[in-house]
């Protein structure tokens, strides 16, 4: 239960911190960290507008999207704070829960019949497809390394303390940061700030969503960031630490994660669209490094 509450708390700040960092670097006046929260509160009060060309799918998609993400958070432990739900192989369930939400958003975008949204939807589908192997190779390798296949046990038994396991830790964190960026449609794959529909990926898919529905989508995005941040935290937190250190570390790491994302976005331009697939496949390649390292550590491959 503690982990769930922690994830919710950090979700509230996450996007605010990213915006603040980007504004600071770009020498602009900074909005409050709570600005995204105010925006969502304002949106929640508004009614949604539906185009007459859309069907029931468009109306239920944001709700399903948010509920899948909410459900996915139930599987995330933080250090020794157990997740609410856990079973063997739950990371596969976790990944496809997120995929269902995304699938709903994609077909909802197609449902509007807009040329732009169809374009965004097929880009998002492509990138999600390409990023999937990276996550599974990574999760699989860590499962192999710890000999456990549920998030709870996996992270409890994850001890990054020997030379080779540092490779796993660093590579896994790197991959997770960028998976989070791809999943949340951030730079360098997508630019959430752009006003150009032709270059949008995620933003263009939710162009027709408004009011309450849009607020749900925003909340889901925060939660997703927070979920990935928690996964990263679990690679760093050691289960032997006392509970309050774990919480302090969790919040600190979440903040650093947000700052890193802000920095990554501020100091570079986005990718050319046609180079995105290549770039995403690179994440899978790094996951393979984790996999090989895990094989070596568990002595499935013997190096002479």
């Amino acid at each position: 239960m503690i982990s769930l509450i922690l994830i919710f708390i950090s979700a509230l700040f996450f996007v605010g911190i990213i915006t603040k960092v980007k504004a600071k670097i770009a020498a602009r006046k900074m909005p409050s960290v709570f600005q995204p929260v105010y925006d969502v509160l304002r949106l929640l009060k508004k009614a949604s507008i539906y185009s007459p060309t859309t069907s029931i799918i468009f109306r239920i998609a944001p709700l399903i999207y948010l509920s899948t993400v909410l459900m996915a958070t139930l599987f995330i432990p933080i250090g020794t704070n157990k997740a609410i739900l856990s079973f063997e192989g739950d990371f596969v369930f976790f990944a496809y829960l997120l995929a269902i939400g995304k699938f709903m958003m994609i077909i909802a975008a197609m449902d509007t019949g807009s040329g732009f949204e169809g374009m965004g939807a097929n880009r998002e589908a492509l990138y999600s497809m390409l990023v999937e192997p990276a996550f599974f190779i990574l999760a699989g390798s860590v499962a192999l390394f710890t000999d456990n296949i549920s998030f709870n046990d996996l992270f409890l038994n994850l001890h990054i303390d020997s030379n080779l396991s540092y490779i796993i830790g660093i590579a896994a964190i790197y991959v997770l940061i960028y998976i989070a960026m791809v999943e949340n449609s951030r730079m360098p794959v997508d630019d959430p700030k752009t006003h150009l529909e032709l270059t949008m990926v995620h933003e263009v898919m939710v162009l027709d969503n408004s009011g309450f529905d849009l607020a749900l989508i925003h909340i889901a995005t925060w939660l997703k960031f927070s979920i990935y941040g928690s996964l990263i935290t679990n690679f760093i937190i050691n289960a032997t630490w006392t509970w309050y250190w774990q919480i302090i570390y969790f919040l600190g790491i979440q903040a650093i994660f947000a700052i890193i994302i802000g920095g990554l976005e501020a100091f570079r331009a986005r990718n050319k669209m046609e180079k995105n697939p290549q770039w995403i496949i690179m994440l899978s390649a790094i996951s393979v490094v984790v996999f090989l390292t895990a094989l070596i550590i568990t002595q499935k491959i013997i190096l002479n």
Binding site: K22, I25, A26, A27, R28, G115, F116, M119, M187, P188, D191, K193, T194, H195, L196, E197, L198, T199, E265, A266, F267, R268, A269, R270, N271, K272, M273, E274, K275
Partner: protein
Amino acid sequence: MLRIKNSQSVDINKIKILKYPEFFDIVLQLLSDKQRHCTSYFAYKKHTDLHFIMAIADDKEHDIILLSHLLKADEKQELASLTKQILALHIFEREIHENFGIEFKNHPWQKPVRFAHNRANTKMQINDYPFYSIKSEELHEVGVGPIHAGIIEPGHFRFICNGENVLHLEIQLGWQHRGVEQLFINKKNNLQRSLLSENIAGDTVIGHSLAFVRNIEALSDVSVPEQLEIERSLALELERIAIHTGDIGALCVDAAYHLGANVFGILRTGIINFTQAWCGNRFGKSLIRPAGSYLPFTEELKTELLSVLTKFEKQFEEMADLTYRLPSIQNRFDYVGTVTQKQAELLGTVGLSARMSGIERDVRVSHPNIAFQKFPIESICVKKGDVFARFLLKKKEIRKSIAWIRNVLANYNFDIQNSKSPQYNLQLKPNSFAISLNEAWRGEVCHCAITDSSGNLLHYKIKDPSMHNWKALELSLRNVEISDFPINNKSYNLSYCGNDL
């Protein structure tokens, strides 16, 4: 063949009226030389007949060749198209076709240009525009506009795509229906006309108003003091610096490099604020007036400009160093939207869009006015013709303009005693033709004016550089991803209202 210098007037009857076949051959022969290009080709009603005038700029001889032919009202309203041989003329023939209903035989692309209110065929509405299309199961069309997402100006873009790749882009303009050229004739006061010329394109205030006042001065034989011309050229270069800096920032926005976007935005403000300190308007409105100026450039302004430039230069160089070397920016802009030198020559691009693919075409060099004669400037070319080339060229031109301004400020003393007040009631010479070319930041602006037997304006013709260059944008998009359209569009930054006169 009649040859005149830039910003000169000539008796209209001195332009020999050729038979069309003869005209046709001469034009083909003249334009086969790459050093010459057509700057304006238009028709106007002379009594009941149509008088066609073509102005060809000769960069080698530094003058403008004038040719003309006449189509009588009782003749068949049909001419052989020159576009077949010289693609660059397509836009002029389209314009004449739209305005007067002349059929150009074998014109490959005889489509409306701007749907002016006084067009020949008013039955043809803007919704009937004949778009090019390809019938195929695999292809799809994406229509963008005419309402612009960034709320700039209206234009409709029709992409034919194969997945993410663009096979063909067609740009349909003409949503503004302003009737600017007609207004020039309707307004009798030169102050009103001056104001009009400032508003032909809001981002090329100095460029267009300069071309206008030079025409008026040429038509009324006023001698313009050297100091005034130098002041005007200073304003022109300041406009170039400001807009190019803004464009670099805007390209950074489109590449999602917000650090660069903000810094270049701030830098641009420094320059336009100086223009405001000089004339009260950030875009230089009210600065350029016929035969004089109420806002002379003073020694105090000189000191201020020098300090503004020093501050600008330091920060600009620092930020440009960072931006232009950034791998992700290079990765985003390199090899995107290439227009080869051959394509650019065929299209007859001008200004920045010509120089980005290695064509040296710069009015400041080939047809300089007094200021650029006294303080010459070299034009800069880059070769690659892609977005990065345009991005780079903007930076280089900014540097060049700053160097030129510094040169002028160091070697010229501005004396307030030499400045005259503007004259709005100038008497124009009857039956005259005047042409004025001016290198605005986007490229060559060309204004032509014709007076009738009593010295009133009979016809006023405006050509914005965008008229030539829109086609280059269409070509840039061939076999490019549709998501690269915004950076291509921004790197050209062509004028919608320059087309929709």
